[in-house]
Amino acid sequence: MKPPVKTTSHPSRRAFLQTALGALAAEHTVPAWSEAADGPARPGARETRLFALPQFLRPDPMGGIVRADRDAAAADDDFQKGQRLSLECPRGAYASFHLVVQTARPGEYSLDLHWSDRSGKIQTDLYREWFHRLRSGDYYPDALVPVPAPHRSRLPEPDNKIENQTTQAFWVDIWVPPDAAPGDYSGRATLEADGKRRTLTLQLKVLPAVVPAEDVVAMDHNSYDASWIASQFPSRVRATSGNFLESDELFRLIHSYHRVFYENHGVFHQLGYGHAGHVEPEFAPALEGEGRGKRIASWDLYDRHYGPLLDGSAFAQTRRGPKPIPFAYLPINPEWPASWLWWGEPGYEAEFTNVVGEMEKHFRDKGWTQTNFEMFFNHKKRYKGFSWDGDEVRYPKDLSYFTEYGRLLKKALPADTPVRLVFRADVSWDMEQQFRELNGVVNMWTCGGGILSWYKGAPKMLRDRGDIVWYYGSPPRVTQPASAITELVLRAWVWDAMGFVHWLAVQPGKDPWFNFTGGGTTLVYSGDRFGLRDPIPSVRLKIQRNAVQELTLLDSFKAQHGLEALKAEATKQFNGSTPDQWWNPRPAFADKPPYEWTNYELNSATEHTRKLFARVDAAAWNRVRQSILQLAREKQ
């Protein structure tokens, strides 16, 4: 076995780099339930009922709405009218809602859901929402356990172990494929419990508008090595003979993680090496020899791992269809493929260029030319492996290493290579200098959100010169308003960034089920405890996905309405702001060398946006969504 996972408290991503909403919304005081507006989900006398809530009002297990979303309860006024629910959705997109079952007394229930659709195009996914018990004692739904319809169970749910639970929530995804016929569809949800039958009539209006297949922003989900998979899927490890970390089952699970993110309009990254350069064997071809004789000895593990991801076959059975992954880390680090022993000597260049050249040829021969292969240095000198920071450079003297690696990479590659090998740098303190000095060396930038907020126009400047530009932060905790995760999506687009990185998105903690820390390092969960062989998504991931697809649709209207006008309307709807307000002024201390900045100064420098987003309510994205649908209707 490998050493235990060691990245759950990765100290390289500081609080000040979180986006503004993430930083303050967790402390946002929400009204007590009695202050919130009336709504269909307001807890009343226990009765058997079936009702629906919009995605931004997350249910609790007692028939109410979770604390973080209550102040938006008034926004669901038109969502359900009597026993009728009306939904609207463009094509190539999902419509989602919470379907909530409440029973008058403990006992069994049955829930069914189906559509009248002769074409068979409209598809429905039903998930049981797991109520995570937080250390505060509050319950929040997040993990989504897929269940078939009809679904039979009982309340209280035996495995969730919530005393006096009256209510079970289900996440409903309605998939409207791009080739579905526009028009009206109807369906029905039925609850049978306690000798009673409750029905909710579903109406779906499919708009002619089609969400473009390419997401307008890439929402990336980062992780480190693969040992965490073994710890999260103990039954799969037990069922596997031999070394699990070199098994087909491990690679099946890795592909499954890629699929759960891909299907939910996300990207998945796994970094395969440590801070002192140790490369896990499944992330790199095996090497042999040294000096001018260093070469690749075997592609076996690498191709089993990456082959189906790079040719797209791992996604053959998905709704989005087979497609190569857009990004993948390379195992390149200061100790791979060249030994640091030879740094500065001819042997380093020989080892590096020989092996990287072989990699380029292998990728080219395989036709793996649609993926951006990233040369990325994650190490920091504080971890004592190397003398320079590869990640988040703070000392300008370290930039000379980047320049040298840029030279080596160019030397290793044929000038006309069709393989996309990019030089990625994750930058924070020193980004302003790096944008300038590493122009033509680094061509993929992942920027700390806090500091990037001072440099209005920087993402566009980088895009205009052909670079890829993302920013990074953390997943919002479940205790933040449901809209928190959509702010990350919207911010990328408002800033002209091309994506966002959740720096760690697969670590739910030791006991996410009954002693949950909030999910600030995960957006998926293991299905192991439910007898499933795959990871399962979360409410937050689904809300993020819906925001991506809706924002992608909005962006497709820019030819008619102009991008800046669309941004102005979206930010206005989101929190009454303007796009300019999503930036902070460049502080005076930015003129000092970055190693003289203090974290206190950095916090102060993002105060403007922190205040702006501190009061964002759970319905913020819903208002944006409504304005997007209005544009879609007008286009119709």
Binding site: H275, G277, H278, W343, K381, R382, K384, R394, N599
Partner: protein, 169 residues
């Protein structure tokens, strides 16, 4: 060089001990003292309740001294016919109860380092090496063997120590 061969724990311990003895004459203790910058040492023990990353964010090394020492450690590790790391640990002036790893290596093996730690409480076997100059073998973590050996400066004083470490099978 690293080869796929079977070695008994006794053979492994002998190899590690041999490497530690070579390290005692090959590693330059004076140069090792110059690896961590004075600024980094200054910040290592500063406390700011508003900035818990003060030590890490201000950690820095002198490239030339670091790389020279690291290359020596890599060469030493290559004396072993199995996967082995030679890590450099240094005491901290003015803080006799502290020790810090200064250089780690490619297999990322250690029985002592805690991920993310800039400095750590002095380990008794390391104190023994620093005080006596005698190598100490440590098998506290199941499946691992470390031999701790002294690093000397030009005055003949023990300046630091190496952790020569491998899996025990």
């Amino acid at each position: 060089m690293t080869e796929k061969m079977t070695h008994t724990p006794q053979q492994i311990e002998q190899e590690l001990d041999h490497i530690a003895r070579v390290a005692a004459v090959m590693v330059d203790g004076d140069a090792c003292r110059r690896i961590v910058t004075p600024r980094a040492l200054e910040y290592m023990f500063k406390i700011d309740p508003h900035d818990r990353f003060l030590a890490g964010d201000n950690y820095d090394v002198n490239d030339a001294e670091f790389n020279s020492a690291k290359k020596t450690l890599i060469r030493l590790a290559r004396l072993a016919p199995f996967a082995c790391d030679v890590n450099l640990w240094m005491p901290i002036t003015g803080h006799p109860d502290k020790i810090q790893v200064v250089i780690r290596n490619v297999h990322e093996l250690s029985q002592f380092w805690t991920f993310g730690a800039i400095d750590q409480e002095m380990f008794p076997p390391m104190r023994t090496v620093l005080e006596t100059g005698k190598p100490v073998t440590v098998k506290q973590r199941p499946g691992m063997i470390s031999v701790l050996g002294p690093v000397y400066d030009s005055l003949g004083d023990v300046a630091g120590l190496v952790e020569v470490v491998s899996h025990s099978s």
